[in-house]
């Protein structure tokens, strides 16, 4: 029973964090750009939301403000890379590290509690209670997570099907071709970074409200969690190729990641060990598919050798 409750919490967290993973998916997989802004823009999303709500701004509006703060973070990374010609990884790291100071400035201190304020989670919970539906906060979070994940997937699916979206996907494949077809690749990268970091800040905003607090350290390692979700999704749903299904795979990966974490915690490890565990999960998820294909290649060689000997 206790474990089932833990799974419910894991699903809720998985859904909320999957929006971050979807943002990372845009840069890492579609654009083939190693964007390290993530840890910063995620925290920015949470901090902006917290300070908005603490100042009496309606939570839904706070979400939108966070989203635009995230787009700004992405734009800075794009500017550093495109105009100052800083390598992509370093451009992201520079934005990420400067966002740490900026986030402290935004909140005026290292953390902001939200327990005494209304968030969209509490609002929905109260709304449902009024019509006689008393749900636990995790179940409410699952509903909200599903709603936002669905919206994000639909919007991204639409956008990456448009002319601009298509040329962004092509940029991730082949920059020379995109330029030969008359599109400025600086612009395509810029747009993709803005969209990705908007998603990531949205995730930060939702996670902050769900946890009831924003903290300048909450984004540490977020990029690895996003990556873990992507690779777990890819390993488990290896055969899907359609863009929509791939995004669903990322969401499933994010949920599975949270369930693995819940399991590990049930086994008695402490939350302090989580970062190490995450790194191990990612390393395994990246190593296993290679190991499996090598194993089959070896089998095939052995079979071929045997057939030659028999013949």
């Amino acid at each position: 029973m206790q474990f089932l409750l833990a799974v419910e919490g894991a699903v809720a967290q998985g859904l909320l964090w999957s929006i971050l993973a979807l943002g990372s998916y845009i840069t890492f997989r579609l654009l083939n750009f190693t964007d390290m802004t993530v840890d910063g823009s995620f925290t920015t999303g949470a901090c902006v939301t917290a300070i908005c709500i603490a100042n009496g701004i309606p939570p839904v509006l706070a979400l939108l403000v966070s989203l635009s703060a995230g787009s700004f973070a992405g734009a800075i990374t794009g500017f550093l890379h495109n105009k100052l010609e800083i390598p992509e990884v370093l451009a992201g790291i520079l934005t990420q590290i400067s966002l740490y100071s900026i986030n402290l400035r935004i909140m005026g201190r290292a953390n902001q509690q939200l327990l005494q304020y209304d968030t969209i989670f509490k609002q929905l919970q109260n709304l449902l209670a009024e019509i006689g539906l008393n749900l636990s906060s995790d179940r409410v979070a699952i509903i909200i997570g599903l709603i936002f994940v669905t919206i994000v997937i639909i919007v991204l699916y639409w956008f990456f099907g448009t002319e601009i979206g298509s040329i962004i996907r092509a940029t991730g494949n082949n920059e020379a071709m995109v330029r030969a077809l008359g599109q400025n690749t600086e612009n395509t990268k810029f747009i993709a970074l803005i969209i990705a970091n908007s998603c990531i800040a949205l995730a930060g905003s939702l996670v902050g409200m769900y946890q009831g607090a924003a903290d300048v350290g909450m984004g540490a390692g977020a990029i690895v969690i996003g990556l873990a979700s992507i690779v777990i999704g890819e390993v488990i749903l290896r055969r899907v190729i359609a863009f929509g299904s791939k995004m669903v795979a990322v969401v499933i990966g994010s949920i599975i990641y949270r369930i693995i974490v819940a399991l590990v915690l049930q086994l008695g490890l402490s939350t302090n060990d989580l970062k190490l565990i995450t790194a191990i999960i990612v390393a395994l998820a990246l190593f296993l598919p290679n190991a499996v294909s090598k194993h089959y290649a070896k089998k095939a060689r052995e079979l071929a050798a045997k057939e030659t000997n028999d013949a």
Partner: protein, 263 residues
Amino acid sequence: MLIIENLTKTFDPGTVNEKKVIDRLNLQISAGDFITVIGGNGAGKSTMLNLICGVYPADGGKIILAGNEIQDMPEHKRAKDFGRVFQDPLMGTAANMQLAENLALAFRRGKRRGLSWGILEEERELYQKRLATLGLGLEDRLNDKIGLLSGGQRQAVTLLMATLNAPKLLLLDEHTAALDPNTAEIVLNLTDKIISEQNLTALMVTHNMQAAIDHGNRLIMMDKGNIIYDVRGPEKQKLKVEDLLRLFQELSSGGGFSDSMLG
């Protein structure tokens, strides 16, 4: 149609690797010309093509296309006038995208891209028709990822993409060099067919001297960043590979062709 005046390009200026690849080059291309370009390694053939379409800027000189100086325009702004096929079959297409999506990207070459759907239903029919003209059976594979196609197929598709909207100038940079002889022949014939059907103007760099003689109406030979021989019409048709080799010995400063170019 395209006029090149005193074009100059030096790679790695001011270093020990400094190399003058294009040296006060002059060339006039008339509308409808199909020019084959030959020359030894390092003669500046590919660099000339790259300078025309703006992969890197020229150090000096002018490039005038239909009366407009374009030498200072960035690559993506020049692209509306140029169709390009690269030597590497992987370079002209996006491997993870469908055949139809690739064609749709090329269909919008040089046009403003907006938020309308990236590929319209009625386009598919057009693409199917155009793919059928290649005669490679690709018309039934619109939804396949380009990465599943062979090098020759990809190069044929790239050629189709480059000419989907008739470009002012088609630039072919040794586009059959990475293909096996059979496939190279097919792609070369397709090139001929498309150029004559659409009455395109084209520049084709090749290492294959026989192909340089057999195709096009004009042939230029380059050496040390300049044009050392320019022939057209009936005089060109009469040329033989041996003639070209002899001419090269006489006109060039050494360096020489390799055996691989005799094929």
